[in-house]
Each structure stands twice: as structure tokens, then as C-alpha cells.
């Protein structure tokens, strides 16, 4: 039953939803870009402050469970959304046409993500996933006058709809065989014996979620959408969307035993292998920075799949830490791309030649980018290394030598293109005119948040104990 207690546990979601409505009314009453940005940021902060309250609540709403995993997911989603809002404000100042709708779409997507992270029932899973994806089509195709953005929107829409159809069909098959929709019930119903239909349903669900996480056979859309979409939309796609979907997949594997069968475990191992290697191999000679970051995010989720394969307490902890390090690093990397290409001038500054010799023009921005790429490559003293260390520790603890070997090979290949990007920052630039971040980028809100994120990367890299303890407490509650 929906008691007051369970409503409190849903507080962050409710606050974000009300902010979306307030923004909608604001747009209807009087368009004011900075105001809208402030309101949405305020809403997100408020939601963030309400998370401890929600965590305290004992019961959770019928179709959802607000447990450690959900709390961790909500906090990360809200933080990423906050950084995206901060970065998109400066980006959108150059956009001719309605600017406030972007924040509206973003808030709706965040609501979906919060719902997805806490979902315990196939229906809420489906609804939240769609609530997350639908605004993304809009955000990606936001600057539709530029054909790349339109193309990205269309591609994402068509392929995401197909993936949702797969997911739905999978759910339907499982429902048809077990008659139960909630995960706990599913588990009991299937304890007898997983027959052909249920496994087929599980596989189809994996395909549907795999698309969203851009696991290799279903990853082809990622580079085009990352390149096409406007920078803030890409940040949101790369962080919040992947984060939420991965937590759901983790929950499915942890709770519902049909995902725990040995056969699916080998399937995930194979998927992890080809994703790690495929992601890195594709990015080797990529001249476009946004596509390169797309491939690198594919590879990183390949590493993370190891947690799904291993499962168990350590896996949840490893996922938590790895996601934190991945999010911080991706925010920094994409943040730099946003800074260099804002204010919006029709085309994002994605080509690597734009960043040649950046260090000698914007030393601190280049420093942020170097730190983020070092972290992507997993070099010590950066957050990325802690994440990689965790994943390798996981693989070794469970004696998954094939996976550990491919992590080592993948990161060795990955070094090549991360180093190539890093060194272009310091190369003496030929005389070519090139785009550049605005002179005062550092003093704007976006710039400041970017600096904070970069410092966070170093802090987590140097002293990860607090972050690890936080994740351990939350995952212990699972």
C-alpha cells in the first residue's frame, strides 16, 4: 500500500518531478534562460539534500525498493545531472531558438533515471526506462537545424525503440511463463526450472538492456550519436543513462536467479570480452574526439561487465566504485569538450586538431583534460586507476583469468589512443585558426564545476578510502 512512509522514500523523485512542472510553468509564463537553469539546479540540489531522508524511510513503495543500490544510484544520477546543467548553461547561451526546453527534457529524464534505479517490478522498469529514453531523443536532436544532431536523434530513436521492443518481448515471455511481474516473485516462480521460453525472455531482456549499455554487438549507434548530439546531451547520455541501466542490470542479476544461471554467466563473459577489445580496437586511430570518447565508454562498460559476471557482495562494491570513477572521469572529459565548443556555434569542436597545443593557450583546461585522459587510461594517482584496480581485483578474486587477461590487453590497446590525444595537447600548434574556449571559461559556473570534478579525480585517485567506505556501507545493505 502507498503509505506516507513510502512516499518519503520517493522524495528525491517527487522533488525532481515538481521541478520539471515548475520549469514547464516558468517557460509558459516568461522565458528566462538563466532563471530556468537556476530553478532546475535548485531542484536537483533539493532532491540531493532529501536523499538522506529517503534513505531513512523503512518501507518502500509497492513496485519499487529503495535500498542501498537505489540510494547510491540516485545520488550519482543527481550529481551527474547537476554537472550537466552547470555545463549546458554556458553552452546554450549561443543557441538561437528556445533554450529552456533543454532543462525540461533533462529533468524528465532524471525522473525516469531515479525511478529506474529503484524499480523492483518489470512494469516500473519499463516505464522508467522509457521516461529516461524519451526526453533523450529530444535532447539529442535539440539543435535539429544542424544535420548531425538530427541524424543522431533519428538513429537513437529508431534503434532505441527497437531495443525497447526486444526488452518488452523478453518481459512478456518471462511473464507468460511465470505469471509474476515483480522481481522477488519472479525469483520464487522460477525456482523450479528455467525452461526455453524464460531463458529466451531473459536473453531478449539482455539484448534490450545491452543496447542501452552499448555492449559490442549492439554498440554501433554509440559513436554516431555521441558525435552528433550536442555536448551536454552527450554528457547526460554517457553518464546518467548508462549508470541507471547498469544498476538495473546488476539488480536483475543479483535478485532474479534466472539471470544467475551458468549459461548466462558464460554469455556475459563472452560479451564482456568482445566489448572490452572491440571498444578499444575501434578507437585506435579515431581523429574525432567525441567518437573516440564514445568508443572509450564502450570499452569501460566492457570492463564493468566483469562485475556482472562475478556477482556477489564484492561485485556490487566494485560496481559502485568503478561507476563513481567512470562518471567523474567522463564528466571531466566531456566537460572539456563542452567548454571548448561553447557557446554553441552550430558545430561542436570535436576534431582532435582543435585541441592541438591547447596547453600553451589554456593551461588549466588542458591540465583538466590530461588528468581526465590519464584517468581513462587508468594511470595511478587518478580515479580511473582505482576503478581498474577494483575490477582486476574482482576478476582475480574469482579466478576469471580470461577476463583479467583481456582487461590487461584492452587497457594496453587503450593506452595508444589516450596517449595520442594527451600528447596533441602539448604539441606546438601550427598557425591554423582554431576554436577555443572563451577567455573567461574558468570563472563561469561550468568552468568551476569542471575544475571541481578534475580535483575530485585526483582526490579519489590519491585517497580513495572515504569513497570506498561509502560504497561498502551502501552495498552491505543489499
Amino acid at each position: 500500500m502507498l503509505t506516507l512512509e513510502s512516499l518519503v522514500s520517493l522524495l528525491p523523485l517527487i522533488i525532481v518531478a515538481t521541478t520539471a512542472v515548475v520549469v514547464m510553468l516558468g517557460v509558459a509564463w516568461q522565458r528566462h534562460h538563466a532563471g530556468t537553469a537556476m530553478v532546475s539546479a535548485g531542484g536537483l540540489v533539493l532532491a540531493l539534500l532529501s536523499v538522506p531522508l529517503a534513505a531513512g524511510a523503512l518501507t518502500s513503495p509497492p513496485l519499487m525498493t529503495v535500498d542501498g543500490l537505489a540510494i547510491m544510484g540516485s545520488v550519482l544520477v543527481l550529481l551527474c545531472a547537476l554537472v550537466t546543467v552547470a555545463l549546458s548553461h554556458h553552452y546554450l547561451t549561443g543557441y538561437i531558438g528556445p533554450r529552456e526546453e533543454f532543462y525540461l527534457l533533462l529533468l524528465c529524464a532524471v525522473t525516469g533515471a531515479l525511478g529506474l534505479v529503484a524499480s523492483d517490478h518489470l512494469a516500473t522498469l519499463f516505464i522508467s526506462l522509457e521516461l529516461l529514453s524519451m526526453p533523450l531523443y529530444g535532447m539529442l536532436a535539440y539543435s535539429f537545424r544542424a544535420e548531425r544532431s538530427l541524424e543522431a536523434g533519428i538513429k537513437y530513436l529508431v534503434l532505441s525503440a527497437a531495443a525497447t521492443a526486444f526488452l518488452l518481448f523478453g518481459m512478456a515471455l518471462i511473464y507468460a511463463r511465470t505469471g509474476r511481474m515483480d522481481l522477488a516473485g519472479l525469483a520464487a516462480g522460477l525456482a523450479a526450472s528455467p525452461d526455453a521460453w524464460t531463458l529466451a525472455g531473459a536473453v531478449l531482456m539482455v539484448v534490450g538492456l545491452g543496447f542501452k549499455l552499448s555492449i559490442v554487438p549492439f554498440h554501433l549507434w554509440t559513436p554516431d550519436v555521441y558525435q552528433g548530439g550536442p555536448a551536454p546531451a552527450t554528457i547526460f547520455l554517457a553518464t546518467v543513462s548508462k549508470l541507471a541501466v547498469f544498476l538495473v542490470l546488476l539488480r536483475l542479476v543479483m535478485v532474479a536467479p534466472i539471470f544467475d544461471s551458468e549459461w548466462l554467466r558464460t554469455l556475459f563473459t563472452l560479451l564482456a570480452l568482445i566489448t572490452m577489445l572491440g571498444g578499444n580496437l575501434l578507437a585506435l586511430f579515431q581523429p574525432n574526439l567525441k567518437r573516440l570518447l564514445g568508443y572509450s565508454s564502450i570499452a569501460h562498460f566492457g570492463y564493468l561487465l566483469v562485475a556482472i559476471v562475478v556477482g556477489g557482495q564484492l561485485a556490487v562494491e566494485a560496481t559502485g566504485v568503478y561507476l563513481i570513477t567512470y562518471l567523474v572521469t567522463t564528466l571531466a572529459a566531456f566537460g572539456v569538450v563542452t567548454q571548448v565548443s561553447s557557446p554553441f556555434g552550430g558545430e561542436d569542436a570535436a576534431g582532435l586538431h582543435h585541441y592541438r597545443g591547447l596547453f600553451w593557450r589554456r593551461p588549466w583546461l588542458a591540465a583538466v583534460m590530461t588528468v581526465s585522459f590519464l584517468s581513462l587510461a587508468g594511470i595511478p594517482l587518478t580515479a580511473g586507476f582505482i576503478g581498474k584496480f577494483y575490477v582486476i581485483a574482482l576478476g582475480v578474486a574469482d579466478a576469471r583469468w580470461w577476463l583479467v587477461g583481456s582487461i590487461v590487453a584492452g587497457s594496453a590497446i587503450g593506452l595508444f589512443y589516450y596517449l595520442r590525444v594527451m600528447v596533441t595537447l602539448y604539441m606546438p600548434e601550427p598557425g591554423m585558426r582554431r576554436r577555443d574556449a572563451t577567455e573567461d571559461w574558468g570563472s563561469r559556473v561550468g568552468g568551476l564545476t569542471l575544475m571541481v570534478v578534475a580535483v575530485l579525480i585526483l582526490v579519489i585517485g590519491v585517497y580513495p578510502a572515504p569513497v570506498i567506505d561509502w560504497v561498502v556501507d551502501l552495498s552491505a545493505a543489499l
Binding site: 536532436a141 544535420e147 541524424e151 529508431v158 525503440a161 521492443a165 518481448f169 515471455l173 507468460a176
Partner: protein
């Protein structure tokens, strides 16, 4: 309940699903691609209904309603983008919008 056994319903839904998939892959024009997406979503909804009747629970029907609303939302956004596609490329061909590669 001696109606048609559940497997037949599921097989029908699967056939419908694969027809939608084929349409998605073969048709060039975006309009028909959106249509085949609808077919796939409806096939999933059908499977839900079949499941619901088999277990005589209302959950399946509720899911069917949700799927229909989603399909509608999907179609609206899809058509909006298709209009922009037409204005830009003067054609509905999905492959026209494929400049990003490599």
C-alpha cells in the same frame, strides 16, 4: 480454461515480432520503419495479453495499456523527427541521414 493454449499465442506474437523486425531492416522510408516499430511493440503487448489470460491476472492488461501509450509517444516523436528529415533532405529515405561514419 480450454481456450487456445498459451504457446500458440506466444508463437503468434513471436511471428508478429519478427515481421516487425524484418520491416525495420528492409524498408528504406522512415515512415515504414516507424510502422514496423509499432508492429514490434504491439506484438510484445499481444504477448502480455496472452500471458494475462493464461494466468487470469489483470497485470498483463495493465502492461498492454502502458505499451500502447509508449508506442503512441514513440510515434509522435518519430514523426516530428521525420518532418525535420523531410525538410532537410526532401526525402524520407533513412539512409540520407548517414553522414557520420568511421
Amino acid at each position: 480454461m480450454n481456450g487456445i493454449p498459451m504457446e500458440h499465442g506466444l508463437i503468434l506474437a513471436s511471428i508478429l515480432f519478427s515481421l516487425g523486425l524484418a520491416g525495420l531492416m528492409l524498408r528504406r522510408s522512415m515512415l515504414f520503419v516507424l510502422m514496423s516499430l509499432e508492429v514490434m511493440l504491439n506484438s510484445a503487448a499481444l504477448a502480455f495479453v496472452v500471458g494475462a489470460t493464461a494466468w487470469s491476472q489483470p497485470d498483463g492488461q495493465a502492461m498492454f495499456l502502458l505499451v500502447i501509450t509508449l508506442a503512441a509517444a514513440e510515434a509522435s516523436v518519430g514523426l516530428a523527427l521525420m518532418i525535420q528529415l523531410y525538410q532537410r533532405y526532401r526525402s524520407l529515405d533513412l539512409d540520407a541521414a548517414s553522414r557520420m561514419r568511421g
